[in-house]
Symmetry: C2
Subunit: 112 residues, 2 copies
DNA sequence: TGCCGAATTGCAGAATTCTTCAATTCGCGG
DNA sequence: CCGCGAATTGAAGAATTCTGCAATTCGGCA
């Protein structure tokens, strides 16, 4: 493996690090959707959405295929939903903790 | 909520989108560690590591405190481990799928 | 075939993020 | 108080990512 594992992981997370891309993934959790729908819900220029979709495709978290007159996108694996859920959890935990945990850790250390 | 939720999520993921930061988090899964240790294992300049640690601190995924002569870092919540695990799973799934899922999805669509 | 809407691609400028060097802070021990 | 090692901060240039416009591709359909 010429590219270290942690670099691949970083790339994976960096792929999710964009508001539009996050929204796309959340919308896709409910099932495959045509680009047209995403465009209607996300409020971003078509070309911009395409760019972001391309990023998601490149990393492999979504796949696309044509369905009649429109292009459909779908999560490549339901595991993506887990990732989003974990993110949500941490966001919650982080907002609640802020100081709490820090104090506890410090209490157990021989420092003070 | 002036800052949309999906923007906060994106920020959270973007925080993990860097090889050094990922490594730090993985090392911290085993418990709190002094900067000195991280520095010894990661092969990056001290100032660079500090910068990355600052990013992690800003987002709140890690906390730091002083322990005698050194500064300790720790995950702010064990949920972070879940996130890393989910990332690993997706990485695996994505590498295996490549085409497989796509074909299946296409089969169910009225397209072809 | 020729047109139309849907979606993507190619770029260029703007905005962010990375990396490194030098300077600074902070505790601790002499 | 002064010097030291540990870690952080500030700042600047390099590198990467974002955004929007124009042009292009691709199917489907008259």
């Amino acid at each position: 493996m010429s590219v270290p594992l942690y670099q691949a992981k970083a790339e994976m997370f960096r792929t999710l690090g964009h508001p539009v891309r996050i929204r796309v993934l959340e919308l896709l959790q409910a099932g495959p959707r045509p680009v047209r729908d995403l465009l209607a819900e996300i409020d971003v220029e078509p070309s911009n959405l395409s760019q972001q979709l391309a990023v998601l495709r490149r990393t492999g978290v979504v796949v696309s295929f044509r369905d009649g007159g429109s292009v459909m996108y779908a999560l490549s694996t339901p595991d993506v939903a887990d990732l989003l859920a974990a993110g949500r959890r941490i966001l919650g935990a982080v907002l609640t903790d802020r100081d709490g945990l820090l104090a506890e850790l410090r209490a157990h250390s021989p420092a003070d």
